[in-house]
Amino acid sequence: MFDWSIITQNADLILKGLWITLYYTVVTTVLGLAMGLLVALAQLTRITAISWAGRLFVEFFRNVPLLVWLLWSYYALPIFLDINISKQLAGIMALSLYGAGYYAEILRAGIQTLDAGQTDAARALGMSTGQAMRRIILPQAFRRMIPPLAGQTIIQMKNTTLLSVLTVPDLLYQAGYIASFTYRPMEVYTAIGVVFLIILIPSNYLARKLETHNR
């Protein structure tokens, strides 16, 4: 009934999809974190216009469905701006910005819930805002935020499957492709699911370990 040879015969396509998935996960996580940190810091400034812009950014990405945002970025944005955007670029941009919205919230909360006494102590020694951030606030905030950041990154990886709607050849796209000429969707999609589980179950386990370790 099951014909698993379909999988071994097309292992190269699946492997290629896996690399694409990992590539987009890493790139959009790094970019998302960097932009997220900027947005978090923007929200924490005393300059009202900047903190509002940060707030707006977060609200936007937390409330727009990712699939809508992704399709809009690829199909609508180029028309608005009258430019050409490759599907790769559109995908990276859309996923990074979307991730940034969530990372920003984690980072902001981590910085804000840090005891105000830590800032006081740093400032009382004569540290500038930047020095206090770099030496006292961020190291503590990051340490605490590792578990939620790891959790968000796992979600980020799962979200890359949506790239297949832009015909970016990630794992899910390859599955659809293989299924289309082998007529064995059952084996193919099962295999893809298993690949995700193999990667993400240990990752989740690790994230939980970090959480207890940091307590």
Binding site: D115, G117, Q118, D120, A121, A122, R123, A124, L125, G126, M127, S128, Q131, R135, I136, P139, Q140, R143
Partner: protein, 274 residues
Amino acid sequence: MNTPDTSRENPLVSIRGLSKAYAAHTVLREIDLDVHEGEVVALLGSSGSGKTTLLRCVNLLEKPDRGRIEISGQAIFNQSAGGDDKAGIKQKQVNTLRSRVGMVFQHFNLFPHMTVLGNVMEGPRIVLKEDGAINRKRAMEYLEKVGMADFADRMPHRLSGGQKQRVSIARALNMRPEVMLFDEPTSALDPELVGEVLSTMITLAKEGMTMLVVTHELGFALEVADRVVFLDQGTIEAEGPPADVLLHPTNERVQSFVNRFHATAELMRPLLQD
């Protein structure tokens, strides 16, 4: 305990007409206060009287609304009613000022991600960009002074409250401040740990450190301070030599305040015999 500067001409800390409000709630009203070199001033008052706010205004952790603050003759805040900041003080100068004023907090506020030694070395390292070896040597001397040299490599969470507070005193001292501010340094401690922190402070006072101390330890105020300042609802209600203000209070608010604390003064006596 030590002989305060008798010239009385150039106070180390000079506060004039200092006012501060949180929204509609006025916390400090037209405060005038001088602290002279080598002087220990105890700041007393009931909860909510504005002691912490006044102390935090001295190093501008809290921004006053009006008034003038000078440290060693240098204006670090100067704002008249409705007017602009006349001294034109830049953030950089504020940071420099803070590096010259040591502060000890009620809840220690040690940096939990650094060792004891790391905490003490952090200020000179980052703010004064000081050489590591010199910094380390002096940090160890200050840890020795507060009796914490053996704990240099510990992380703060493995210390008792009294030990934490002594480390935080060493951290402030390592900046070699001109004046030390203490905000209820023993209030968060178990009673049996209060003594070790107070005796560290007594040592500092004897060495001639200029200190402005918010405290509920009337014994400390009585025996160690050169002067007490009693704050009530944001104004200085009484001020003078500790014995005059605390033992023969003429002000009824001071009187009722003192009555609540008689027991503590008795507890302090054994600590002061040497």
